[in-house]
């Protein structure tokens, strides 16, 4: 295949995947705010109005899944998945090509692992979609399982795409820590 076409395709795909990751990240960010508000609502409703919100536990659990898996692809995108890359940095100074290829291999392994997660979760989603399985206490508060499984599946799938792009483009900025911490990395 023509190298130029490959590059344009990769760039286009990359832009799209990153766009989705950033959007999912924004949604996940709103869930963080939601979490703060829901728990405070329960504290006040219970303490002052004698009317606790009996679904607080399920909503918190649900939010945790949303926060983690909506944000995960973006964490991968900006290279903030926990790693210790002192060795890669040292190698990178003397043998930049070797380091680059090592990064490619690592990203390939990572993509494979996320593929396994996606494959493992998909049947869980279809099963729970059909059975309408829920968690919580009937008559008190319940929430369906399937959205959780779906979010995990989509998140893992998006991570696979992002890792794959890192393998193809070889772009995976080595960066141990970003400071000041609060500034968002833009690519």
């Amino acid at each position: 295949m023509n190298n130029g076409v490959l590059k344009t395709t990769a760039a286009g795909l990359s832009k799209m995947a990153n766009g989705i990751a950033i959007s999912a990240n924004a949604v996940g960010t709103i869930v963080v705010l939601l979490l703060v508000l829901v728990v405070n609502y329960d504290v006040v409703a219970r303490g002052i109005f004698n009317k606790p919100f009996l679904g607080a536990v399920e909503v918190v659990q649900f939010s945790m899944v949303l926060i983690v898996f909506l944000q995960l692809p973006d964490v991968v995108r900006v290279n903030r998945l926990t790693r210790s890359d002192g060795f890669l940095a040292v190698i990178g100074e003397r043998r930049p090509r070797l380091a680059r290829n090592m990064r490619r291999v690592i990203n390939f392994i990572s993509g494979t692992f996320m593929t396994l997660i996606a494959i493992a979760i998909w049947p869980e989603f279809t099963e729970m979609w059909e059975s309408k399985d829920f968690f919580g206490i009937p008559g008190v508060f319940t929430a369906p399982w399937w959205p959780i499984k779906l979010v995990i599946f989509l998140s893992a799938a998006l991570c696979v795409v992002i890792f794959a792009l890192k393998v193809l483009t070889g772009r995976d900025r080595p960066e141990m820590i970003r400071a000041p911490e609060h500034e968002e990395a833009t690519e």
Binding site: V32, V36, V68, Q71, I177
Partner: protein, 435 residues
């Protein structure tokens, strides 16, 4: 290979892959997956374990403390609470040799009570106290060292993400872990101050610096204005947990909202800054919880292989004393601390040691404190010392190299080790507050 051999080999494989630079959760997950597959000769079983672990681990209610306390820490940093408490401390310590250093330790101890991570502390104080120490002629290595050393307090004094992670692995109450962290944290702070005082007395050139020029004391009104917000937060959050009025999750949420209110009232936060704090919270939460998820695959793999039981039997038959088990444990943590972050150390090491500690009749709460303090020593040691990296990056001053930061932090790592030994020797230091 027997299951035990596969299990032990996999621990070694994980360490090697991590050293090579493989993402830590991926290394934990992939190696565990392959180990289970080989051990039981059953690919589906490995997939099934993956399935259970990925859904289960994140759904833990108490994990909501991770985003909530992270957010609270970020918001209060933005609100300038760290800088405020530092100024107040400074006005108290200014007559003493090394006073700014002591003030940094003190301010860190207080700030630690409202932030869940060492990184927040390191970045706040390298911005406010290092430049001041340099302008008063302090030894640069001491200046960065004291910031690095005291940043560790953020993870020991509650709230702390590491105490939360430990309480998950060891199935201990988050509230109890938090309470147990208070005395050891204050003890460490006191030990740092004592160290600075001693050096000021006997080796003043190590500290350097000259006393403050201005003589005016801070007015009571000013002191109140600068300390009231942070005191209120501490009373609500730690008081809420201690009395049982709030669960740790609720305390985190209340503290977040209160911190936000303080920032808004003081006009210290823009809409963009608010959004970034939320976003950063999400990133940190996702990274930590994905790591925990992978670690739960790993600990189940160890369980299936029977490694903890075998290790327990081995140590029992070898008749190691308490001293040697603890010695080995501390050495292992310091070794791993050369390269891994605290959360990874806890997640990898604790499942191996829990089965040894419980039958010895030792408190798992105490063991958690030992673990967190021991693993945190690694924040200060090369080649990977997260606190030192943060300080170097935040300062962005070409006169101070990463090597200077590490050299400066080293004495504080030694002080930590001494405190750790005391904590091991006297468990009541950690447990007294619970009884």
């Amino acid at each position: 290979m027997s299951p035990i051999e596969i299990g032990l080999t996999s621990v070694g494989a994980i360490v090697i892959l991590v050293y090579l630079g493989v993402y830590i959760p991926i290394a934990l997950g992939v190696v565990s997956f392959v180990s289970i597959w080989l051990m039981r000769d059953n690919f589906d079983l490995a997939m099934n374990l993956l399935k259970i672990a990925v859904g289960d681990s994140v759904m833990e209610y108490t994990f909501a403390t991770v985003p909530l306390f992270t957010f609270m820490g970020l918001i209060v940093s933005k609100a300038g609470l760290g800088a405020d408490i530092y100024e107040v401390m400074n006005s108290g310590f200014r007559k003493v040799k090394g006073g700014i250093g002591m003030a940094t330790v003190g301010a860190n101890a207080v700030f630690a009570a409202v932030t869940g991570s060492s990184i927040a502390s390191a970045s706040v104080f390298s911005k406010v106290s290092v430049p001041q120490m340099l302008s008063y002629g302090y030894n640069p290595r001491f200046a960065v060292g004291v910031v690095a050393g005291s940043s560790v307090l953020g993870m020991i004094i509650p709230p702390s993400a590491m105490l939360i992670i430990y309480s998950f692995v060891a199935e201990q109450s988050v509230g109890e872990m938090f309470q147990a962290g208070i005395v050891p944290g204050l003890m460490l702070a006191a030990a740092y101050v004592a160290w600075i005082w001693t050096m000021g007395k006997f080796a003043p050139s190590y500290i350097g610096g000259r006393p403050f020029d201005e003589t005016e004391w801070m007015s009571w009104g000013e002191i109140a204005e600068k300390t009231l917000p942070i005191t209120t937060l501490i009373v609500v959050v730690l008081g809420g947990i201690y009395t049982g009025w709030l669960t740790p999750v609720e305390a985190g949420a209340t503290g977040s909202l209160l911190g936000l209110a303080i920032a808004v009232v003081r006009k210290k936060i823009s809409l963009q800054g608010f959004w970034q704090a939320l976003l950063e919270t999400g990133h940190i939460t996702a990274a930590i919880l994905f790591l925990i998820t992978a670690a739960s695959i790993y600990s189940r793999m160890l369980g299936l292989a029977g490694v903890p039981n075998a290790l327990g039997d081995f140590l029992e038959s070898a008749q190691f004393s308490f001293f040697w088990i603890m010695f080995f444990y501390v050495v292992l943590m310091i070794f791993l601390g050369t390269l891994l972050d605290t959360a990874s150390i806890i997640l990898i090491v604790v499942p191996l040691f829990l089965p040894l500690i419980e039958p010895m009749g030792l408190s798992l709460v105490w063991f958690g404190i030992i673990t967190v303090v021991g693993a945190e020593i690694g924040l200060l040691t090369p080649p990977l010392g997260i606190s030192c990296f943060v300080i170097k990056a935040t300062l962005d001053d070409h006169r101070i190299s990463l090597k200077d930061v590490f050299i400066g932090a080293f004495p504080f790592a030694i002080v930590m080790l001494v405190v750790l030994i005391l904590l091991i020797r006297f468990p009541s230091l950690s447990l007294a507050i619970l009884n």
